[in-house]
């Protein structure tokens, strides 16, 4: 291959490419500066650690959502899935330590199953994923409320809650390192590996141009279905962390689906598929969490948060992804 007028590396890094990381990193930087101004000790290891720990779930959800969105689909069911998982966990564990691990495995399986169903309905029955997952959202919430007659039953064992709540104490330099953070790092690494794998690369191709992908030997329906499964599993892990962090409640997953989608879009992933990186998606989620913390620090009234969130989204998208079609 002949390389023509290739700019030097630094320039290429700076080049704002749609779907690239530059915009989200910039946004993140701005937020960090704002935090630093208002709350310097936020960067003290303990508080930073706990912040990262508590942000783990939404970051994981964003990673899962990334795979679905980059393949050209939506997953609106993750929020409901998280709620369902937490409530199910509480009822099955019923504060009985021995049940912890079996239930954890069961949750992961359940998440994968829901993803599989989403995927198959979308790809095989050709139902737009927006509808599929919207329906799944209603079904999951309805079913779990029904199953627990409207009020969460049982309780989570401390063993279960440990993942989301406890931390490795007195680690040198860092102080306490939340288990959630470890879990996050592990799964984030996994996500990056998957995204870099042949599957991950071809998945983007599927989102960009399914016809070409099909004619190049990609089993499009299978790829998309797997993407949904990944999202489901991510939701399961997130549910374990959230349940651990804050205990059982029907609010556990409320609104997380939009949070995750927002994060992914902030991260420069194009709705409709074919563009974006999982790292960007996760950074997007991190910025979103940072934004909320920032609003707490600046004492923005709880009521106004959504306005700020909405404005940020519109700005970020208008600036970073001007190419996305109106579909």
């Amino acid at each position: 291959m002949q390389t023509v007028q290739r700019p030097p590396l630094p320039l290429r890094l700076l080049r704002v490419r749609p779907g690239g990381l530059v915009p989200i990193i910039a946004l993140l930087a701005v937020l960090l500066i704002l935090v630093a101004v208002r709350q310097p000790d936020f960067f003290a290891p303990p508080s930073l650690m706990s912040f990262l720990g508590r942000s783990a779930p939404i970051i994981l959800l964003a990673a899962g959502q990334y795979f679905v969105i980059v393949s050209g689909e939506f997953d609106l069911s993750v929020g409901a899935l998280v709620t369902a998982q937490v409530v199910v966990a509480a009822r099955l564990i019923d504060s009985e330590p021995a049940h912890t691990w079996p239930v954890v495995l069961l949750l992961l399986g359940f998440g994968a199953l829901v993803g599989l169903v989403n995927g198959l309905i979308t790809t095989r029955l050709r139902v737009p994923s927006f509808i599929t997952t919207l329906g799944m959202l209603l079904i999951l919430l309805g079913a779990v409320y029904l199953w627990s007659d409207g009020a969460p039953k049982g309780g989570l064992s401390d063993e279960f809650r440990r993942f989301g709540r406890w931390a490795f104490e007195d680690v040198p330099v860092l102080g306490r390192v939340p288990y959630a953070l470890i879990v996050l790092l592990a799964f984030a690494a996994l996500a990056v590996l998957v995204a870099r794998s042949d599957f991950g690369r071809t998945l983007i191709a599927v989102g960009d141009n399914p016809r070409t992908a099909e004619l190049s030997g990609v089993r499009v329906w299978r790829h998309r279905t797997i993407a949904f499964v990944l999202s489901g599993v991510a939701a399961a892990v997130a549910a374990i962390l959230i349940g651990g962090y804050s205990g059982v409640s029907f609010q556990a997953g409320a609104g997380l689906e939009f949070g995750a989608i927002t994060a992914v879009v902030l991260g420069g992933v194009a709705l409709g598929g074919g563009r974006g990186s999982v790292v960007g998606a996760m950074l997007g989620a991190l910025s979103l969490e940072l934004l909320f913390a920032l609003m707490n620090f600046y004492g923005v009234s709880g009521a106004l948060r959504s306005t700020v969130q909405g404005a940020i989204i519109l700005l970020a998208v208008a600036v970073s992804a001007p190419r996305s079609s109106s579909r």
Binding site: Y145, G155, Q251
Partner: protein, 393 residues
């Protein structure tokens, strides 16, 4: 109208900004800080008279069987109900605002148990769940009117917006009993509820502001805006805090989401180094708030919760400085009792003010029942009802 214009302005401004700068993010937050820090201007739900009345009720002594608080009345004002006298068995209809939280679940189970307890006196009990939608509840009430109910029980989803529907129901001629939240019309035969929001908010606020160190920082956690029961709790607490000169560093809405609660509390501890008192308008997220302090390795400051068992248990185990004003779920028994009395033509009190016990360090043990699920409400007054305890588990 200023609001609307503001809305338009905001929308368009943000629109323009969409292709310009980061301003809008700053814009709203600036104007918000007023509402964010300090207790801000008094809620428009605050009515001095009611406030005084409720606080007076706190020390009033109830008439009625001591062991059955759901049949007791504070300062009864009896009304004639002879015109509603009717031979049983009766068909009772109940338009329920929602079943979407543990409090309402426990309450409704209690109500069903009460119906069962009344046995043959009730031939049918129709229940319609409005799923927290005003417009659905209005339709539901209208629907129930066509079902030949002998009495209509309403637990309104929102005070103001349900008033027209309830008025229409009264016009239909059958006895209407409103409980939990009220309506802006005197037409129901009786309005049943405990002392109410002002009492709840006051008790909690008094306790916290007295126990926290003087000049300390207090964080107020609220569930949602715009629910009158909760609004009155907050407005009463406000009065107490302003009187005690407490520094309220934040008023945040948690949506009853424990995760959100922990994040908020965590950030406030961050921001202010320490929080010396926590007041909340409902117990739902009390446990989460306490955990936030524990996770941050901070001592748990004086705090108020509600009579949910998970909180009471935590309180006992960790020896918190806490109090639990209640909004007793046993009030769900009363409407059934009232309905039957009305249909018997017996006079009932309107308003029917129920006592509103408070869980304190002293009586904590008497309410803490470890056999019941964590989200069960101690004040259910359901121990004597058929199906206890399985029905509530």
């Amino acid at each position: 109208m200023r609001r609307t214009i503001a809305a338009l302005a905001a929308v368009t401004l943000l629109g323009l900004a969409g292709c310009a700068t980061d301003e809008p993010a700053a814009g709203p937050s600036g104007s918000a800080s007023a509402a964010g820090s300090g207790t801000g201007e008094q809620s428009k739900f605050f009515v001095q008279a009611d406030y005084d009345a409720e606080l007076a009720l706190l020390d009033a002594t109830a008439t009625g069987p001591a062991d059955r608080p759901w049949e007791q009345v504070l300062n009864p004002k009896m009304v004639e109900t002879a015109k509603f006298k009717k031979a049983g068995p009766h068909k009772l209809c109940f338009s329920n605002a929602a079943l979407n939280n543990p409090w309402r679940q426990v309450g409704f189970k209690t109500m069903q148990a009460e119906v069962e307890a009344q046995g043959s006196r009730i031939k049918e009990f129709v229940h319609v769940d409005a799923e927290g939608k005003d417009q659905k509840q209005i339709a539901d009430i209208n629907d129930l009117l066509g079902k030949g109910c002998d009495a209509l029980i309403v637990s309104p989803n929102t005070t103001a917006t349900l008033t027209p529907a309830v008025t229409a129901a009264c016009k239909a001629g059958l006895p209407v009993i409103v409980f939990d939240r009220g309506v802006d019309t005197p037409c129901p035969v009786t309005f049943i509820n405990p002392i109410g929001g002002y009492g709840f908010g006051h008790v909690g606020a008094e306790f916290v502001s007295q126990r926290m160190k003087p000049g300390g920082k207090l964080l107020a956690l609220r569930i949602l805006p715009g629910v009158d029961v909760l609004e009155t709790r907050w407005s009463a607490a406000k009065v107490a805090f302003d009187k005690a000169g407490v520094d309220v560093v934040g008023v945040e809405f948690t949506d009853g989401d424990p995760a959100k609660t922990k994040k908020i509390v965590n950030d406030y501890i961050q921001r202010h180094g320490t929080i010396d008192g926590v007041w909340m308008d409902a117990g739902a997220v009390a446990v989460a708030a306490v955990e936030a302090f524990q996770d941050a390795g901070k001592p748990v400051p004086p705090i108020n919760g509600e009579d949910q068992l998970d909180f009471l248990k935590l309180w006992k185990d960790k020896g918190l400085t806490a109090i639990a004003p209640t909004y007793p779920t046993y009030q769900w028994r009363t409407p059934i009792i009232a309905a039957l009395r009305i249909l018997d033509g017996q006079p009932v009190s309107n308003p029917w003010k129920l006592p509103q016990p408070t869980v304190t360090q002293e009586n904590l043990d008497s309410y803490l029942d470890l056999d019941m699920p964590p989200l069960h409400y101690a004040m259910c007054g359901c121990t004597d009802l058929p199906g206890y305890p399985q029905r509530w588990k």
